[in-house]
Symmetry: C2
């Protein structure tokens, strides 16, 4: 249950869709713990950026110190780094903390340099610092196509010059903005660029993910590209069947045929486009992640989200390749499942991989969340059951012996069916442990039936009387209900159906015991003809069975947390049984 720490170093987006906000949300829903080093504040919304407040680089450094010294991350990511002095501060603090570089946790670097509209977001000196100072520390870098081009320009120039400071980054940016020089226009180009970046950086472990979102292609172009691509590349199709091609591995006729009916018109359209993200690993293994291009206005913060998801997956112990593959799927689904927000490019739906728990986790404050839920949801019915007049009169020894006689005759019949319900549980079990637990209860009830016969004798009821008696309606209603639920549902439903009797008699036993001890005189054993009954249910044997019952149910629920719909079904069964139990006492009183 441990949640590893993931540090994000990025700007703040007041609009909540990008920056540390997107990162924090992504990291949180991945089950990790997010820490934040903020490099800049923006006054921003879905329409645009209305203001920027840069954070002094020494305060960036101070934040780095605070989090790295006390909350060591399992993975890190960087986003918008704003200035060369901030990048230097980040590098210095990383080098200071991780003097032995092999102990540095993996960093995912999203080189936020060029916007979708081909606008350069970083000053030239910061771009140089990023390329020559920060990239060599990276475990994963996630440039888009334009950023890949610019990185490559810089890295090539760095390689050609004796010293990085000789590289005229400003001129390279101008060339990039003017569209001069080599441009990436195909999957093959993306692969080559990724390989060259990895080559120049000579990092032992570096994975370059060239994001192809800015290079959508038609189905035909995709197919011919895939044919031309080096044999070694593995093609990973993201999203079901994709309607891409029957040749693709894992193509399923039925899903392809029904996909268009389940989705909107877009997927049938002739113009469907595909995007490919190219992953180049340090050992030159290549993976192509292919997915239909998504038409959506909810794309603000896509790059932040992807890199934060990759960092989270790494922190969770996944391989780099899996971390990227799952990060891409997470981000795509976050776009697809988003709802419109704001006037411009809206945020992603970061929460799509979570569902709200129907029940809280067990805690010291609430160690039995399921049983507590059942009891709270039937508070009134529960009291009517466990403090029924039959119980009160029995405790005082004032219960009409004829009423009790009627009750124990019916109880004998009930117990036979109650044993059968547990045998049905054993039939439905999937493990020997479960078979054993159910069988032990059946066996126990069957054996105890002889004692029940003895007990009945003391009230003038013979075995003959027991066998001749007909099941009363209240008895049939209850015991046959349990058996029917047992057949109809799964083991958990069966366990809930038999639980009301177990927990209720346990409660009655303890309640009578406490009243016996509190000196109120409401319950007494002396001269009470029902003494043995009271002692049986307040005794250790029965109470231990109650404990086991509570534990078994809570364990099942913890291992298989129910959805709200399933919890509602279980609660309905419980509520029915509590009422049927009260009616069973009433049957005794009424001798009906």
């Amino acid at each position: 249950m441990s949640s590893p720490t993931v540090l994000t170093i990025a700007g703040s987006d007041s609009g909540g869709g990008a920056g540390v906000q997107a990162d924090t949300k992504t990291i949180q829903v991945h089950g990790c713990f997010a820490t934040n080093v903020i490099t800049a504040l923006t006054a921003q919304n879905t329409v645009g950026v209305q203001g920027v407040h840069e954070v002094p680089s020494d305060f960036v450094k101070r934040q780095m110190e605070s989090v790295l010294s006390d909350l060591p991350p399992k993975a890190m990511k960087t986003g918008m780094l704003a200035s060369s002095s901030i990048i230097r501060a980040v590098i210095e603090q990383l080098r200071y903390t991780y003097a032995e570089s092999e102990r540095m946790p993996p960093i995912v670097i999203d080189p936020v340099m060029i916007s979708t509209s081909n606008h350069t977001l970083l000053p030239s000196d910061a771009i140089g610092e990023l390329c020559f100072g920060l990239l060599p520390l990276a475990r994963v870098i996630t440039p888009n196509i334009q950023e890949t081009e610019l990185l490559l320009r810089c890295l090539r120039a760095g390689k050609a010059n004796q010293h990085h400071s000789n590289v005229k980054v400003g001129e390279l940016v101008k060339e990039q903005e003017a569209g001069q020089g080599d441009r990436i226009q195909s999957i093959q180009h993306m692969i080559s660029a990724g390989q060259e970046i990895a080559d120049i950086l000579q990092a032992e472990h570096l994975t370059v993910l060239v994001k192809g979102g800015h290079l959508p292609m038609s189905k035909e172009a995709l197919k011919s590209s895939l044919r031309d691509v080096a044999k070694g590349a593995e093609v990973v199709w993201k999203g079901e069947s994709n309607g891409a091609d029957v040749e693709q591995e894992g193509f399923v006729e039925v899903l392809h045929a029904y996909r268009s009916q389940a989705t909107d018109q877009r997927s049938n359209s002739e113009e469907e486009k595909y995007v490919v993200d190219v992953m180049v690993e340090a050992d030159s293994r290549i993976k192509l992640f292919v997915a239909p291009a998504i038409k959506s206005a909810s794309t603000h913060g896509t790059g932040c989200t992807l890199s934060a998801a990759i960092a989270s997956n790494i922190a969770l112990g996944k391989s780099i390749s899996d971390a990227i593959s799952e990060g891409i799927a997470y981000t795509q689904n976050a776009i697809i499942s988003s709802e419109p927000k704001g006037e411009g490019h809206g945020p992603l739906n970061h929460g799509h991989i979570s569902v709200r728990r129907a029940l809280p986790v067990p805690s010291n404050n609430n160690p039995h969340p399921f049983v507590s839920h059942l009891l709270r949801s039937t508070a009134v019915e529960w009291q009517s059951y466990v403090k029924h007049p039959f119980v009160q009169q029995l405790g005082r020894g004032k219960l009409d012996p004829e009423a009790f006689r009627h009750y124990i005759i019916q109880d004998w019949h009930y117990l036979r069916n109650y044993a059968r319900a547990h045998s049905l549980g054993a039939y439905k079990a999937t493990s020997f442990a479960e078979i054993q637990a159910f069988s032990e209860i059946s066996l126990h009830i069957a054996r105890e039936s002889e004692m029940h016969v003895e007990f009945c004798k003391s009230f003038g009821v013979s075995l003959q009387d027991l066998e001749n008696a007909r099941e009363s309606p209240a008895n049939s209603a209850y015991s046959r209900y349990i058996l029917d639920i047992g057949v109809q549902g799964d083991v958990t439903e069966l366990l809930v159906a038999v639980f009301s009797c177990l927990l209720g008699y346990g409660e009655v036993g303890l309640y009578l015991q406490r009243k016996l001890e509190d000196g109120s005189g409401e319950v007494k054993l002396e001269g009470n003809r029902y003494k043995r009954w009271i002692q049986d249910y307040s005794g250790t044997d029965f109470q231990d069975a109650v404990k086991r019952g509570i534990r078994t149910l809570e364990k099942r629920i913890e291992e298989d947390p129910p959805s709200p719909a399933r919890l509602a079904r279980l609660t309905k069964i419980w509520s029915d049984c509590v009422k049927l139990e009260a009616a069973f006492w009433q049957m005794g009183l009424d001798k009906s």
Copy 2:
């Protein structure tokens, strides 16, 4: 599925446990969308605050403008507001955006003024601005006991003076720090203070939640306090039974008895303490939320988390009272379920109300997440089934007629059991719609059995032959497996067990149809003695049944999302059936 926007206006905690980070995490896991206005940056960790960078008030205002103009919140909260100029900026921007004050969304104000160690966190002029400027806009305020004392000092002084600017806040702070004047030392004091604050502010809708975390009390003190408290107050026990007292409503003997065994020693200890949060509503209704005091080092960001949870619950449409009650439970469980992090006061576990989805939500990209998951998890077995040599030979018309004869005899027996499995489904159904759907399939199969007999005749198999034939082992293995799963599990498990046959034959039908049309000659109808078989399964009737089957399963899964354990069980059933289907073809080929 809409996620309402919640705005938090607060400081940033680089350590991720408090401030906008705690707020954003809390808002996210509540299913809301967080926007952030950052008032100050802190370099902070679990040990302390190592640095503060205050944000210029005009940049706070700019952030307010950006988010309020484009992303209107359903609720807001404020945390650390740092300075009087920032508070003024917040007030001005709220007044500007919501010129008609009744249209302003509810604001929860956590008046971050005094730390646990009784250290004043705001300058005097900011405290004045908060009391006289911001509080009148509040829907809910959540002061701790010291803050309640200071707020009351200021508000009383404000009432006594003609103008707020005459109030000497600095002197009041000194009195507070020196412990002079009225102190809150009991539940009754908390109630009176809350009432007086509401009184002075004269807000039509204002709820004051006086947090009692700094005033833990023994069980005896609690009991006597509760006796003394005005009759009108409603007592709400948070956490199961609490072990507080048998007199409390909803006390359950069995849970009380077993609580100590399920929890740590603390709950048995004589020293167990209780804390009470007092809620005073504008109409003077009072609720006391009582819970055992939690001993934990993971309390950093408790106030931020509570106020963010309350704001989220309000945004989700809950009443103020429910929003507070659920917010308290959320925050307590977040403390209780936290794991140690850092050297000092660690963060809460914000994610405890979420579980990771075992399956993605349906989307355009992946409209059949459950069926896709099943197919992906059995990719190899699935291909062995639907492209079995039996199918290939049948498509070419080259299948040994004796093999086919053996197969259709067994298939007749299989279909009888397959129909029974659907009748079992009808027995297990909970709605007429479901009974109808299952019954229609049973009926359809039973009716078609006559056509099956006709079809068999054309292969020289009489009804007599069918009835005399014994079930082959492969047939028994498969059909009896389905029936057993049907009895053992619930309706979803049964549906998965019958689904492999439906989806597989649908796939085979479409696959043969496509091969027929692609001109490869791999499948032909002319002169193919199995023509009718191919046409039956590729035909509209059967394919419509496949579509219905996919829809039914996906709908069930969407309405009742499985936990990972449950998904594993369903996947196991599917995988077993896919292999049993392949063995069924093989049985035909082998005439075994």
